[in-house]
Amino acid sequence: MGKEYLGEFEELVLTMVGVLQKEAYGAAIAEEIEKRQDRNINISALHVTLYRLEDKGLIKSAFGGSTNERGGRRKRIYTVTNAGFVMLRRMKDGRLELWRLIPQLKMSGI
């Protein structure tokens, strides 16, 4: 570990999985991102990212219940692993530290 980095979209998806908790499955994650970030998500790209995160051991998955709303297909519910949390935290800390290094801007025009 340590040398693993996440792409922007990967980070977003990983965060969303953490946010949605028990409701974290493909379509829900996509909807949530669309709603909160106002960006269009290509569902196949989302899936690919989820699988990649799972490969990296940052999330894990298990089948949840099925609903008619999905044509009887079961949901795959993703949960963030410990490694995933470590990664999220490290990225947040890293960002904040960089943010602090930016010379404070004076808000002009006030």
Partner: protein
């Protein structure tokens, strides 16, 4: 947002889900992920359906589904089937390489025999396809026919005559609507072309109709295809002829040129005739030039040109052919069908390969006996079969060395099909490797074959068509599969436990293996006997007494001027010590002599018939060494010997059924009955034709005024070529209009049997290869057998057997097999060779000795081959074999 799953809403929507995007998804996505992906997509679909309506929802589902076609998804599939197979094949490949390395001798024999088999097959294939490609450049090929005649002459049997008269073509085209066009092809032989001060002898010039280039697709470089030969006195030159006369071809078009004494205009330049065309010419004259020519306009006398018909699409040639006898009667008025000529049509595609029985077939370049192609094909298959037998036999015999491998693979869970696949794969790899080696070998072999057969075969022509090249690889793979099947089956068929216990290692050769050896040697013996018989027949033809001298005779072409100065030339040449005779004749011996009408006055009246005819100079019989049974030779002392004296041959004397033919009044058919000459002599029969045909009736006349076509010069001493300059010197001093051209009679006679000669060399080479490959196989097989018998030999030696007893015991089983194959192949070979010999009127008889010596040669070669192993095994110290017992 919660949705009640049981609402009617949702159930309605279910019907509208497009199915094919889902099917597509299932094909693309890995099985363990498909459920989730589909679920998410469907969930979106329902949402979209409510939000945007049915149409848009369906569209979005489809688009989203297609987006799953991406490597990150597809690669998540477990390519269980393909991936493992690729790995396995690599492993198999490694194993085959290891196997080759571990047993270099057997692998070498396997590879080498396959390589030789394949390379000879390739050469034979190239040869056959070259022969079959003849005249294929003409797009009208399937509807062009050559007319030939079958004259009903008494005496000479049925002849097919490739020539017709000038009148036949135009009249048929006029009478029958199914004939689209016709062209005549009238060879003029060598002609002198004069451009300014340059005199050039052009070898083969032909006069043709203006339709010639419409019927045949010869490549016209410049000039107008349709009209180039329409006007009288037009000539088309081939490129190389044009370049002999002019600096470049462009300059020559439209120029005037003198041919013999007539002025012609050059109206076209033609690409040189391709090697695979039966018509070969250096220049084409418009036949309309000869309209006023006496010989040409008297259309009824004789047959002297080829006529080709182009039929309309769908016209029935058989139907047309059946109407030609009516046509003949209608135009000639000859009512009696026994006197007329039956006209028949020969398809253009048959002209090259099916004309062996055609007489007067002068315009048929490199004519080949088509039935020999079958012989070639069969020998090709034979040799490949022999090579395959080696492969099957050796692999099977070597099986015991690989049983451990098989046993272990089986015991750790290899399925039988997998093992089977491995062995098949190995044999296929071997076959493909052999194909590559065969190509390399052919690079050296083909120039040699070309030299031997006078062909221009090219290995690269195999790759001219991608289909052909693909087929070649496919056939090779198939060969690998087929040869691999039996050994693979054999090697995988053992019980694991007995294999690992080492129990069945000493198994002997199977019936299958033995019959393969019988097959292999049968084919080899057949080819050897075939070679013996064919070469015997050929040397018989070469050495048989054909009744006249063919050695040391130089033939020199002549024209009108030479005819006039014949006496001068003769006198000057005869001064040369080495020249023993000079004579001339209208035709060359060894070509089919023209038949002329002839009549003989008998007690009951005039008897008309058509024997072969020859117009000769006075010294002809002397120069050619033709002996007289009765009567006398032509002599200058008798005035009537000029045109009124005839020498007939024995056959004719017999046919005439006269006790004393000498003195009987006789003459050519156009002689008036009251002005006949007389038969003055009966010559001993000589083979004026090839040995394919029986000697027929022949009448020889001596009439210098009719002119001769060729001078024959008899040379003393062996160095004919050294005398040529002296002869030429005399010629150049006397003759101004015709260059000195010469050839040798013996070469011409040998040429008659070129097809046979070529077949003989191809068969001999394959026979040598066949016996070579067979013996290599035998060598390997014996080595393996010896290994298995090593203990038996040891025990026998300990019990007191001598070396000789042991080696003869070891050889005897193989000798038996070869004897069996000899007995089995003899009847087949006899039948095939008998059929071939039947085509000759003069042939050898097949003595049993030929067959026995063929078998004996094979057995001796085979015994020599195995002697290395048998003697070595017999001399081996038994201690080595029995030490570990």
């Amino acid at each position: 947002m919660e949705i009640d799953p049981t609402t009617k809403d949702v159930r309605d929507m279910n019907d509208q889900i497009p199915q094919w995007p889902l099917k597509f998804l299932r094909a693309v996505c890995p099985d363990h992920l498909i459920e989730e992906i589909e679920g998410d997509l469907l969930q979106n679909f329902y949402k979209d359906h409510r939000k945007f309506g049915q149409r848009k929802a369906r569209l979005r589902l489809t688009l989203n589904a297609i987006r799953y076609l991406r490597p990150e998804i597809i690669m998540r599939n477990k390519f269980s089937f393909q991936l493992i197979n690729i790995m396995m094949l690599l492993n198999y490949f490694k194993l085959s390489l290891r196997n080759i390395r571990l047993s270099p001798l057997y692998s070498f024999i396997n590879m080498f025999s396959l390589t030789i088999g394949l390379s000879s097959c390739l050469v034979i294939y190239l040869f056959i396809s070259d022969e079959l490609s003849f005249d294929s450049l003409h797009s009208n090929r399937s509807s062009v026919y050559r007319i030939y005649g079958v004259p009903h002459y008494s005496g000479n049997g049925t002849q097919k005559i490739a020539l017709t008269n000038a009148w036949t073509g135009p009249s048929i085209a006029e009478d029958f609507p199914q004939v689209a066009s016709f062209t005549r092809y009238w060879t003029q032989g060598k002609m002198t072309f004069t451009n300014g001060d340059d005199h050039l002898l052009i070898n083969s010039v032909a006069a043709v109709d203006s339709t010639f280039l419409n019927i045949f697709d010869f490549n016209l470089q410049s000039g107008n295809r349709a009209t180039a030969l329409a006007e009288p006195n037009s000539v088309i030159l081939t490129e190389s002829t044009a370049l002999k006369l002019f600096k470049n071809t462009d300059e020559s078009l439209g120029r005037a040129i003198t041919i013999q004494d007539t002025e012609y205009k050059i109206t076209g330049i033609l690409k040189d005739t391709p090697e695979n065309s039966h018509l070969r010419f250096d220049a084409l004259l418009s036949i309309s030039t000869f309209g006023k020519n006496k010989m040409f306009s008297s259309t009824w006398e004789g047959s002297f040109l080829n006529t080709y018909l182009l039929l309309h699409d769908g016209a029935d040639n058989k139907e047309l052919e059946s109407k030609l006898s009516d046509f003949w009667i209608r135009h000639t008025g000859i009512k009696d069908p026994d006197k007329g000529t039956t006209l028949q049509l020969q398809p253009l595609s048959d002209v090259h390969l099916q004309s062996t029985d055609m007489d007067h077939d002068y315009n048929n370049y490199r004519k080949f006996n088509g039935t020999y192609l079958k012989v070639f094909g069969i020998t090709g298959i034979f040799i490949l079969l022999i090579a395959c037998v080696n492969f099957m036999n050796l692999t099977t015999a070597r099986a015991s060395y690989r049983w451990k491998e098989v046993g272990i693979r089986k015991s750790i869970g290899a399925k039988k099909t997998q093992l089977f696949g491995q062995f098949i794969f190995e044999s296929t790899v071997m076959a493909l490797l052999a194909l590559v080696l065969a190509m390399l070998l052919d690079l050296f072999l083909i120039p040699f074959v070309n030299q031997l057969t006078g062909r221009q075969l090219l290995l690269s022509s195999l790759f001219a068509h991608p289909i052909q090249a693909g087929l070649l690889v496919a056939v090779t793979i198939l060969l690998g599969l087929l040869t691999g099947i039996y050994p693979s089956f054999y090697m995988t068929s053992f019980n694991v436990t007995s294999v690992l216990k080492g129990g069945i290692k000493t198994q002997g050769r199977s019936i299958f293996q033995n019959s393969l050896v019988v097959l292999q040697f049968g084919l080899a013996i057949g080819l050897i006997i075939g070679t013996l018989v064919v070469t015997r027949q050929l040397s018989f033809m070469k050495n048989t007494d054909i009744g006249f001298t063919k050695d040391q005779i130089i033939l020199v072409g002549m024209n009108g001027e030479v005819n006039k100065k014949l006496e001068v030339l003769r006198t000057e040449w005869l001064r040369n010590q080495s020249v023993s005779g000079v004579t001339a004749s209208s035709q060359r011996l060894g070509t089919n002599l023209n038949g002329w009408g002839f009549k003989v006055k008998t007690d009951t009246g005039i008897y008309n018939f058509v024997p072969s005819n020859l117009n000769v100079d006075f010294d002809y019989l002397k120069v050619y060494g033709i002996t007289l049974n009765d009567g006398r030779d032509f002599s200058r002392e008798f005035l009537t010997d000029n045109g009124k004296a005839f020498i007939i041959n024995e056959t004719m004397a017999r046919e005439l059924n006269m006790k004393q033919p000498v003195g009987i009044p006789a003459g050519q058919s156009w002689y008036e009955n009251d002005s006949l000459g007389a038969i003055i002599g009966v010559a001993k029969d000589f083979n004026y034709n090839s040995l394919y045909s029986k000697i027929g009736m022949l009448a020889i006349v001596c009439k210098p005024e009719w002119g001769y076509d060729e001078i024959s010069i008899k040379i003393d001493g062996a160095h004919a070529k050294e005398i040529i300059p002296a002869l030429k010197e005399v010629w150049d001093k006397n003759i101004t209009t015709y260059p000195f051209t010469y050839s040798f009679l013996d070469e011409h006679v040998d040429n008659l049997y070129k097809s046979d000669q070529q077949m003989s060399s191809v068969i001999s080479i394959t026979a040598i290869f066949a016996i070579f490959i067979s013996c290599m196989g035998l060598f390997g097989l014996v080595a393996i057998t010896m290994n298995k018998k090593i203990k038996e030999i040891g025990i026998r030696k300990v019990l007191g057997a001598t070396n000789f007893q042991i080696s003869s015991m070891l050889s005897s089983s193989f000798t038996k097999l070869i004897l069996i194959s000899f007995v089995m192949i003899c009847p087949v070979t006899y039948y095939l060779l008998f059929k071939w010999l039947e085509s000759f009127s003069y042939r050898i008889t097949m003595s049993p000795w030929l067959f026995l010596s063929g078998g004996l040669i094979t057995i001796i070669i085979a015994l020599l081959t195995i002697s290395y192993h048998t003697i070595r095994s017999a001399r081996e110290n038994p201690v080595n074999a029995l030490r570990y017992e």
